[in-house]
Symmetry: C2
Subunit: 369 residues, 2 copies
Amino acid sequence: MAEVHAIRRERLRGRCAAAGVAAALVTQPANVRYLTGCAPAGAALLVGPGPEDVLVHLRTPPDHRGRAEFSDDLRSLVLRSADGDAAVAAAGLAREHAAASLAVEEHHLTVVRHRAIGSVAGGLPLTDLGGAVEQLRLVKDEQEIAALRIAAEIADQALGELLESILVGRTERHLALELERRLVDHGADGPAFPTSVGTGPHSGTPRHAPTDRRVEEGDFLTVRLGACYRGYRCEIGRTFVIGSAPAAWQIDLYELVFDAQRAGRETLAPGVACRDVDRATRQPLTAAGHTEGLAPWSGHGVGLEIDEDPQLSPAAMGKLDACVPVTVEPGVHLPGRGGVRIDDTLVVRPVADGGPELLTITTKELLAL
Amino acid sequence: MAEVHAIRRERLRGRCAAAGVAAALVTQPANVRYLTGCAPAGAALLVGPGPEDVLVHLRTPPDHRGRAEFSDDLRSLVLRSADGDAAVAAAGLAREHAAASLAVEEHHLTVVRHRAIGSVAGGLPLTDLGGAVEQLRLVKDEQEIAALRIAAEIADQALGELLESILVGRTERHLALELERRLVDHGADGPAFPTSVGTGPHSGTPRHAPTDRRVEEGDFLTVRLGACYRGYRCEIGRTFVIGSAPAAWQIDLYELVFDAQRAGRETLAPGVACRDVDRATRQPLTAAGHTEGLAPWSGHGVGLEIDEDPQLSPAAMGKLDACVPVTVEPGVHLPGRGGVRIDDTLVVRPVADGGPELLTITTKELLAL
């Protein structure tokens, strides 16, 4: 593992050199983890100006997730003061090493921290590293995809077990907690995001927070969950109907969302514009008159964060690449009645490799439970 | 409830007026919630320059916690663009209303967002609101303390039920999940922070992340949990011994930490310096030779955030006030053997009112389970 991280940091150095940046200060936690394999709370990574990279972190408290797993050419520097800011200490190091300039993550640092870094940096000019590390994170290597595959498997298992249990009469909160327990049972670090369970009129809402409403006969039941495995987060969403026979409107709505989701999935290929995936997913829904209340995105990238680039939305720039994992997650919610959401995590692959790889394999048939 | 929030905003206006600030832009989520009663993800609150305050928020996705409960003189403005930044839109409003200046939360805004606000604000000078809202939040009103009291009661109940169940052979992860389920069972919005369960050599570690280690006979078992109730977060930590009879070293270590925690609790009073509470709590531990590995704080404020001002640490400035809820949470961890932590949430009260009010009432006797 350690070598992987050293190679990633080398790539960042390459980008920095090309942009005339002498040293980079990385503070965004997922970026720190990507480049070092761990992300103790409040840690800061200094890449350059010398040959050795330095991870500065606080002595206590240890982060809930980040364990120091690295054992390579990365130097670990423990900050002695509990009140200290690792980023400020790292900026001091950059100055000591006579860096010509220091690029920082302006989209992550607060104004106050940026000012503190600037004052320690002295004459050292601060520039913006921008999303350089996020850019590196876009295309996943096979080790990362393997972690996502396991995360998806865990989510499928947790969901499958829930479907075998009795649902009527249980509250959204309890179903969500049960799913999260099962994720951990099957080896997840934890849930990838707060599990969403929506019943009846709550079903189909984009990110519904579970309430005390109980599952009733005739309800739509929408579930959205994901596992975090070795830091990698996946997502699955399904809608079921409770009782022996779905109503006609439920079947129609389900088929509509199912078709939209399939259209989106089938669009996924290297070189396709992100906004075209969104359009393909959205179009069947708007054509059927569902213009109000649609989520502003049809999907998004996943990885060390559950919502990362690329965005699949009408205003998205850029194109898909091979080995980019994304969600496709259309939904329709009819106020007062409920609705349907169907959500998969897939990896973009060229047609020659069999096209998009579906990670979340739970059936998308409309199950009556 | 709505009136409470209007009064709080009025107090903020008073502070701003005194500091020559025409309008304030609040973005820190707990601050937004304190001033409006809700905090949809990404919301921004503009207080002034006109008589009407405006909460700008995104249309979707709705926040997992924040429900729009307000119904007073606060105007709610929904941002139409999904990619938009509510803070930027609010800054545009401030300019339209010809504010003379706009104070923003530089400790919360990233450099990138601050720049976007500055560019929309045009000629409007941006100043720093600093921790003005956090200052207002320090001293709690009786409604807030009532919410904390219920949160503590829920945590006590969840912990009490766990103690009645069989513990040997269960993993830290499962015990933590079980506690979180019980918190929700008893009416919590959710856990106040990730529940920590440490067994054997993990016991006594400040913020141990649960692992797959199973509870064994003879272990110390340290549990730290808290409930979030109507947004207010409390904290309780206890250490137990597993089996019929604690070892002599376990009894000695427990008594030491117990005495330290009592010393800290007994110091709590209006007008006492925060660092003096830390010193009183820390002194018995260092006197017994435990200097390495002590947490850099002995406690902290709680409220809408689980870790807020005041800090009870050696470098802390300031004094306690009446109606300030804090934790007192000393601990000792002996590498390889384990340790003890005892953690309560209390409200500072004058002696005339009976002294500090203990919210977390689970016994602190050393229980052998």
